[in-house]
Amino acid sequence: MLDKNGIAKRIAKELKNGYYVNLGIGIPTLVANYIPKGLEVVLQSENGLLGMGPFPFDGEEDADLINAGKQTITTLPGSAIFDSAMSFGMIRSQKVDLTILGAMEVSENGDIANWKIPGKMVKGMGGAMDLVASAKNIIVAMQHVNKAGESKLLPECTLPLTGVRCIKKVVTELAVLDVLPEGGFRLLERAPGVTTEYIRSVTAGKLIIEGEIPEMQLD
């Protein structure tokens, strides 16, 4: 079973050289720490930055330079800054190769719910609806079950949707799964020490297991 950093580390293996990547808040942000050496990957922050660098050194924070999570950050040589309309322009026109974000629920046909819980204060969707509606490749990083122990991989989402039929892959503390175009979660990899039986027991949506399922290789 993986911790948050493990999930991030596994997702980082999905990166390819030359990718432009948008990282959501939470576990996705951690992916930046595990970009494989030798890969050139450019991070896009939807508040208007391409080429997001690491957090600034203590004392060097710049209030004018933040990421979409409102954290102080830095630029890199070759960074570019632009306004919010162009930022979502490049997202909508699929110039961003990969989007990684968190979710409350994912359904077996690729729907995602991650912005609203009825009865609770709704903070808003931010850029999530734009990202999921536009991205050509979306990976969800999340826990396999919620705090109540219920599966977050469902036949259908129960929460209000953020986007429909858009999620291509899910990485949890237990497994890596593809979401198939025809519906269903195809199990690709198990986290170290986790059995397919256990994954089956916490996956409410249609789970497809074909042949031997390998353990994740994290290093």
């Binding site: 004018d64 933040i66 808003g124 949707l161 429909v164």
Partner: protein
């Protein structure tokens, strides 16, 4: 060049009245028009509809206007980090309309570009699509979203000249250029107001034609919402 200078925030907002719709630039607390917000709080104008990506925090930014109950309706993409906001929302004092961030930005830009509506896939199949026209282009569904206009757009830039040309700094740019284009009247506050000719014409982010009033702000606090650092 046409001189757009006003003395200060008070003069810039002199004809903002109860019930008007205001756009306010900024993302979180980054790049917000601090001086003008403070002047609006002091003036006490009420029943406002505010269009801004966020609603500030309890004691800064639009949060200050919420504390004074000046906002009737908030149109935003994300409104966390604000306890008073939550209280007013739950008590029914405040109306909120949540809009996907890219849709918000593009609806503002549409106004500045004279396009009455735009198409975006954001929100298709969700409650955001309710009551909206959808349309299929090349096999993909899009929502038709209408251009946004406001009585006043209020933006903050780094530098500006008296002709209204603006230059933003780093990610404090965010929504400011698109909102600057969408105000019937647009007010710009800048950290440094310079004479025409001091800004390179090639490097202007917002041409002065979009700006009606400009002034040099003072005492910028530039509060940081999430100070995140690494150690040397």
């Amino acid at each position: 060049m046409i001189n757009k200078t006003v003395q200060n925030a008070e003069e810039a907002i002199k004809d903002i009245e109860d019930g008007m719709t205001l756009m306010l630039g900024g993302f979180g607390l980054c790049g917000i028009p601090e001086n003008t917000i403070n002047a609006l709080v002091k003036k006490g104008v009420k029943e406002l509809t505010c269009i801004s990506n966020n609603a500030g925090v309890d004691d800064f930014g639009i949060g200050l206007m919420l504390q004074q109950r000046q906002v009737k309706k908030m149109i935003a993409s994300y409104v966390g980090e604000n306890a008073e906001f939550e209280r007013q929302l739950l008590s029914g004092e405040l109306e909120v309309e949540l809009i996907p961030q890219g849709t918000l930005a593009t609806r503002c830009m549409a106004s500045g570009y004279g396009m009455p509506a735009i198409f975006t896939p954001a929100g298709v199949g969700t409650e955001v699509a309710e009551g909206k026209e959808t349309r299929n282009f090349n096999g993909k569904e899009y929502l038709m979203e209408m251009a946004f206009e406001s009585d006043f757009a209020i933006v903050k830039a780094w530098k500006g000249d008296t002709a209204g040309n603006l230059v933003y700094r780093a990610t404090a740019r965010n929504f400011n250029p698109v909102m600057a284009m969408a105000g019937k009247i647009t007010i710009a506050e800048v950290e440094e107001l310079v004479e025409p000719g001091e800004l390179d014409p090639d490097q202007i982010h917002t041409p002065g034609i979009y700006i009606h009033r400009i002034f040099q702000g003072k005492n910028y606090e530039k509060r940081i919402e999430q100070r995140t650092v690494r150690q040397k």
